[in-house]
Symmetry: C2
Subunit: 422 residues, 2 copies
């Protein structure tokens, strides 16, 4: 029903506002004590002292009660960059990489991204849908209530559409809200390696129009990177997307400065993601634009590059920053935004408040959902994470464990950690 009354909170921590950073500097987070929260029909009705909330509750019908046990309430997490719909298993390849086998050796043995493409092309839509559901379940368990998810392992018309249909089918039946992105230009498929432009013709003239016509994607993405797609090629794909109503967001400057940040700023892209190799000019361009910087530290960790994006320089330049899992089978195999939280504070030198803002309000804005989710304010959708511990600080401090007791989506408990059997 979406009527919920949350009491006994140790802290309520949230950024405020509906634009990136709420018009503030990154990390201005409201931390309130002694308040309760009332939700009505899935929206936040009131936040206030116990008597204030009791008065508001008198006007609401049946209300579910949630005793927070002294824990900390934060906005539901928003994961703005994932690649959920894929098939196949690359765990053995990963173990080989850990044992010292090179990426080239692995690719030569049939591994790498093209093995995921082969498995995803072979898989049925229902198999991919089941994989997405399993991943969404895991995301919910770790506090995510809204996410973005991309295609990009089909690399041909039908397989890209199959990925997006599987994503939509899984999302239709899941508490986590999913925003879909077409990433047909993730890589050049093997059959077009001799003539990548030919594949881009296909992307622009067939795949983008078909995905848009079927309403399967809201955004269009491209992997702008040395050795993948140049800035000029990327521009072509993103402009094709714009022509069909798909706003751009892109993979930019992950391993080498590929002028992806400048392209993002020039096109008014919603995000420029990765940015480990962004140049000074790229940072200047982002600072002068509305584009949000999307950081994905899970890839630096998982790929053992030990090279992280310059988060402090981006933040100090006034650029709103998001963080995402980048959940994918090759470079960041995790659904956990808390894991990304720990990497952000320990490897990106972000503060607790900056990191919370990155995975709530800023991430919501990067999905054009800043009016709906990303903060705990009256009128917004009632999406929350109830954390262990009497303060937001505990989320950073107690690393490597599962710090979440309850996840609320639209005023309804969507995940509750069960007591151990013992």
């Amino acid at each position: 029903m979406g009527n919920l009354w949350i009491s006994n909170l140790g802290e309520l921590a949230s950024p405020l506002g509906s634009g990136p950073l709420g018009g503030r500097r990154q990390g201005e987070v409201s931390r309130r004590h002694g308040v309760e929260v009332l939700c009505r029909d899935g929206r936040i009705e009131a936040i206030g002292s116990p008597p204030e909330v009791a008065a508001a509750a008198a006007h609401v019908g049946d209300i579910e009660r949630l005793d927070a046990g002294g824990g900390t309430l934060v906005p539901g997490f928003v994961d703005p960059h994932t690649h959920l719909p894929w098939a196949g298993d690359r765990s053995a390849e990963f173990a080989q990489r850990l044992a010292g086998r090179s990426y080239l050796e692995i690719a030569a043995a049939g591994g790498g991204i093209l093995s995921t493409v082969a498995a995803t092309r072979d898989a049925s839509e229902s198999e991919i849908r089941a994989n997405v559901t399993r991943r969404l379940d895991r995301m919910l368990e770790w506090g995510t209530t809204t996410c973005e998810a991309k295609s990009g392992y089909g690399l041909e018309l039908e397989a890209e559409l199959k990925q997006l249909r599987a994503l939509a089918a899984a999302a239709a039946d899941h508490p986590v809200d999913v925003v879909a992105t077409l990433l047909a230009a993730h890589e050049t498929p093997a059959e077009h390696r001799a003539d990548p432009e030919r594949y881009l013709d296909l992307v622009c003239s067939e795949i983008v129009p078909a995905a848009a016509a079927e309403g399967l994607a809201r955004y269009c993405d491209v992997f702008c990177e040395r050795g993948v797609f140049s800035a000029a090629q990327s521009r072509r794909v993103l402009e094709a997307g714009l022509e069909h109503g798909l706003r751009p967001r892109l993979h930019a400057d992950e391993f080498a400065d590929s002028h992806g940040a400048e392209l993002a700023a020039d096109l008014g892209a919603l995000t420029a993601d990765h940015l480990m190799a962004v140049s000074d000019r790229g940072i200047e361009a982002l600072a002068a634009s509305t584009t949000i910087a999307g950081l994905l530290p899970g890839t630096s960790f998982f790929l053992k590059t030990r090279l992280y994006a310059p988060a402090r320089r981006l933040i100090d330049a006034g650029i709103p920053v998001t963080l995402a899992t980048d959940c994918n089978p090759g470079s960041s195999h995790t659904e956990s935004l808390p894991m990304i939280f720990w990497l952000a504070v320990l490897e990106l030198d972000m503060t607790v408040e900056e990191t919370l803002t990155a995975i709530t309000l800023n991430a919501a804005c990067s999905l054009e959902l800043g009016d709906e989710v990303g903060t705990i304010e009256a009128g917004k959708q009632a999406d929350f994470v109830l954390l262990e511990g009497a303060s937001l600080d505990n989320l950073a401090y107690h690393f490597g464990v599962h710090p979440i007791t309850v996840v609320v989506k639209r005023g309804t408990v969507a995940y509750r950690k069960a007591e151990a059997e013992r």
Copy 2:
């Protein structure tokens, strides 16, 4: 009752043997498929094909069945270095450190280790016991079935004994087996800062004998580190322990080469732990000794030193390596050995098999329990972790999530992950 029959395994992965490395090189792990496991009275009775195990089961009375769902069975994890019995909350201090406040500023404001000492001295034994139980619950949730735990936040006779009594009381009522270590020489308490030798007199002549007489500790530890206790001071403490039957294990060469590794080797210590700053001579000394190298990468991560122990050099020198959480309030606030697993493969460049050996057989040997636990072999105690995924590789590959479905202690299910409410 401890009778359990585990079927439908995707893989059974275990080091073999009862000495460190099982007399092999680090990382020789047996990976078997198509086998089942039968436990009787808490011990492993048989491992074999389904008909073989069915034949063995005919001679056992009531047997609980566990369908592994295609998952991977590994030995219960052994965490050989923790500091569980403490009181107080340093999450706010940690958040300040992330925001750029220096360790000295934090210490001047009453933070740092001495704040934990003050809180632990003030706490009642039952409060500390409840904290230990909560931490043991979390360890079990993340696969630990045996651990070591140290005192060291009392730093005076009664408070050290109180910590050890609280630990013993919590352990007596918990499935996780706990081995206790006296770490009275963790730091010089404020009241003895003018004359640290005076405190060491107290440690050697009063605290060590009292802890040994009361049977509260099996081992004696010391923080051998520049600015804490020198190698000569450390030797004095560890020799006092030996006189009272407490074998040595020590904190060695964490921040600076303090000749801790050489001291450990010379005294025949069970472990030399940390070793981020170990010298070439220290490595040579360890290689020529029976001492095990205990690596604690959680501290490098949590303290943002970005300096990890030279795991590959230690392994290549033939030194058995363990990994531990170092669970403590100041430098590694986690109970999760899977989190340490991910740091080991991604930051220490260890392989999947080396890492499994480090947190099972080698850790068991460092606690003189190699005959009892640490491998899955007939006759040993039936302590297991059932992992998601059809292969051990998945434990490394799927990072940041909770990868465990069941934990078995002495043939009994001690933890089972509950289904989400949804």
